[in-house]
């Protein structure tokens, strides 16, 4: 059954507040899709509408060629892994997992449940109550309880939110393995950009009820189209400037007297004002006087440097007084620049992206989860 999930002009209003604002979205069958955004962006409301737990104000939800907008939750061929799991505390693991099968009077419950418990590596836990399981085990039961019904789409609402960091990473790998093994469409809601990028085939970044940008993790990360995406998905240096010329498919941008190159294809505008951006890990930090630097260069003064093991993170001040960040990989951490040191920053023009000049440079800064 070809069952792409298709949201059409999907909207949900709560009084004056529009939680989800005319979303159009197609999730192809069998993909791992992540809805990423800060809390309150509408991602969970979107998921709940697909599950049938929230009624859309307008718009349609289709599964393949079937319109499921008006189906009650218990008739929809989708299942949910709830935030904090919502396992039935009075039922043991077996009965929790068997719940959906029993409601639909499916045959062979026992065999199916044991197979599913094997898949999530909980075979020995069948007669335990949820209260007797660890967080990670409860998480697996929640996944098993939903997946056993062979849903057309599996919805995951911040399923790893309650786990500690190490377990999160482990479960991310686990979930990805299960998704590949069963081939079900996964729609995963999260506010953690690393989780979204590491697991999903497609990431949709949501903000204020709308999808800001959608694509595979690399292209969304490398080519953000809005300041919100640039800031929320990792970190970014955003500089306001003017386009002053063009050379070899590149625009020359003047930022307070310093010239930078940005590929023409990366710029939404080709004359007048523009915002250009570069991710901190693309920037090389060297002593002034070193000449083997990439083409985009600017002198700066170190404000703070923190050695965090895999890299050294610099906070520097540009000549026009704007703070910038740069990450240097610690291949050879012998000369870490100290606060007050003059340095030269350099990065490749192809690592530079352009944004609309009217973008709010601080969009998405507060909401983003700090990188590790």
């Amino acid at each position: 059954m070809a069952a792409d999930l298709n949201l059409q002009r999907l909207t949900r209003e709560f009084g004056e507040h529009t939680a989800v604002d005319h979303i159009d979205l197609i999730v192809p069958q069998g993909t791992f899709f992540a809805l990423l955004g800060p809390s309150g962006c509408g991602k969970t409301t979107t998921l709940r509408m697909v599950a049938g737990l929230e009624e859309p104000t307008s718009g349609h939800i289709r599964l393949g060629d079937r319109d499921i907008t008006d189906l009650p939750a218990y008739r929809r061929p989708v299942n949910t892994v709830f935030q904090n799991y919502a396992l039935f505390p009075h039922l043991d693991v077996f009965d929790n997992v068997a719940f959906g099968l029993k409601r639909r009077k499916v045959a062979d419950v026992k065999k199916k449940v044991s197979e599913m418990l094997e898949l999530v590596e909980l075979g020995k836990m069948a007669d335990r109550k949820p209260g007797q399981l660890s967080g990670g085990q409860q998480q697996r039961v929640a996944v098993a309880r939903a997946l056993i019904n062979e849903p057309a789409v599996l919805l995951l609402d911040e399923p790893l939110g309650a786990l500690d960091l190490k377990l999160r990473r482990q479960m991310q790998i686990e979930l990805k393995r299960i998704q590949i093994e069963v081939g079900t469409t996964f729609v995963h809601v999260t506010h953690d950009q690393e989780e979204a990028m590491s697991m999903a085939d497609t990431v949709a970044v949501m903000n204020l009820g709308k999808i800001e940008q959608m694509g595979d993790p690399i292209s969304v990360y490398e080519h953000p189209k809005t300041a919100f995406v640039a800031n929320f998905l990792g970190q970014a240096n955003l500089l306001k400037g003017d386009i002053v010329g063009e050379e070899n498919d590149h625009l020359v941008v003047d930022v307070h007297g310093v010239k930078f190159s940005v590929p023409r294809s990366e710029a939404p505008v080709h004359d007048g004002r523009i915002v250009i951006g570069v991710r901190p890990e693309k920037i090389t930090v060297v002593d002034p006087g070193v000449t083997t630097l990439p083409k985009n260069q600017v002198a700066a003064t170190v404000i703070d440097s923190s050695f965090i093991g895999v890299s050294t993170q610099y906070l520097v001040e540009s000549p026009w007084g704007q703070p910038m960040i740069a990450f240097e990989q610690n291949r050879d951490p012998t000369d870490v620049a100290r606060p007050g040191d003059p340095v030269l920053l350099g990065w490749e023009p192809r690592h530079t992206f352009g944004l609309d000049p009217d973008e709010d440079l601080k969009a998405g800064l507060q909401e983003s989860v700090p990188a590790l």
Binding site: F88, P89, N149
Partner: protein, 277 residues
């Protein structure tokens, strides 16, 4: 050492206000008359026949007490459950207002409230006249029937049913109901498979808290019932206060406590051992 000292007041309380009276009750129940008349008083004895004669004489009132209380408890459960459910899941901002309304009748005296029903259910009252006009009353009256007594018991002890039910329903995560519907359970199935079993502690508590005082009650039978509706509480009250036959009254009290204890323990063991959290 100090922890043991700290429980002394509690132990003393139980000793002086529970154990001593209980033993005194049992001792009294075995006394025999000093002379031929009740007014001559009683002397300590081991007259176990007090029990058999009391039971022989007042067996119907015994049965009636547990029967009326049982029906009233069942009715209270049926009425209280939707109310408690509504307050716990649907009332949102009116939750506390509704809880206050549930408790509000307690601010008026128990006797006063029961007497008020006497007026409401009286033969020339609106309720009886309306029901009679519809020919719904076989006896042409409500007051002085078992219906009135059971109604009074249900009414008076309803809050004891609502509050534990509410406490238990309120603890149920509404997401469990969502999870049930996500897993193909219709609203009715979701209720029976998830909400009802999880509310069992409240059902258990409510039933016990309603059944115990209702079975020992005598006010409702006295004010709303006829002489044929007397419960064991009425007999004990009359024996203690009016006739002053203390040994018989004590024997009845002791037997009543014992039977009630058996009923409650059996009930809790049957219901309480189902898979509770």
């Amino acid at each position: 050492m100090i922890p043991y000292l700290l429980i002394l007041p509690g132990l003393a309380w139980i000793l002086f206000f529970f154990l001593v009276p209980l033993l005194s009750l049992v001792a009294t129940s075995l006394q025999k008359r000093a002379g031929t008349s009740l007014s001559e008083g009683f002397v300590p004895a081991l007259q176990f026949s007090n029990y058999t004669s009391a039971l022989g004489e007042y067996f119907p009132q015994f049965i009636r007490a547990f029967l009326y209380a049982g029906i009233a408890t069942a009715l209270a459960l049926v009425i209280a459950y939707p109310i408690a459910y509504y307050i716990a899941f649907k009332a949102t901002k009116y939750k506390y207002l509704m809880l206050v309304l549930v408790i509000a009748p307690f601010f008026a005296s128990f006797l006063l409230r029961t007497n008020a029903w006497k007026t409401i259910l009286s033969a020339d009252g609106f309720v009886v006249e309306t029901l009679n006009a519809l020919s719904l009353l076989p006896e042409d009256r409500i007051l002085n029937t078992s219906v009135a007594v059971i109604f009074g018991l249900t009414y008076n002890f309803l809050p004891f049913m609502i509050l534990p039910l509410y406490a238990s329903l309120d603890r149920i995560d509404p997401r469990l109901v969502e999870a049930a519907s996500d897993l193909y359970a219709s609203p009715a199935t979701g209720f029976w498979r998830v909400v009802w079993p999880l509310s069992m502690p409240g059902v258990l508590g409510g039933v016990v808290l309603t059944f115990i005082p209702a079975s020992g009650d005598y006010i409702n039978a006295q004010l709303l019932g006829s002489t044929n509706d007397k419960m064991i509480g009425n007999v004990i009250q009359a024996q203690f206060i009016v006739l002053r036959d203390y040994p018989i009254a004590s024997a009845l009290s002791a037997m009543f406590m014992f039977v009630l204890l058996i009923i409650i323990v059996t009930y809790i063991r049957r219901v309480g051992t189902r898979q509770l959290v």
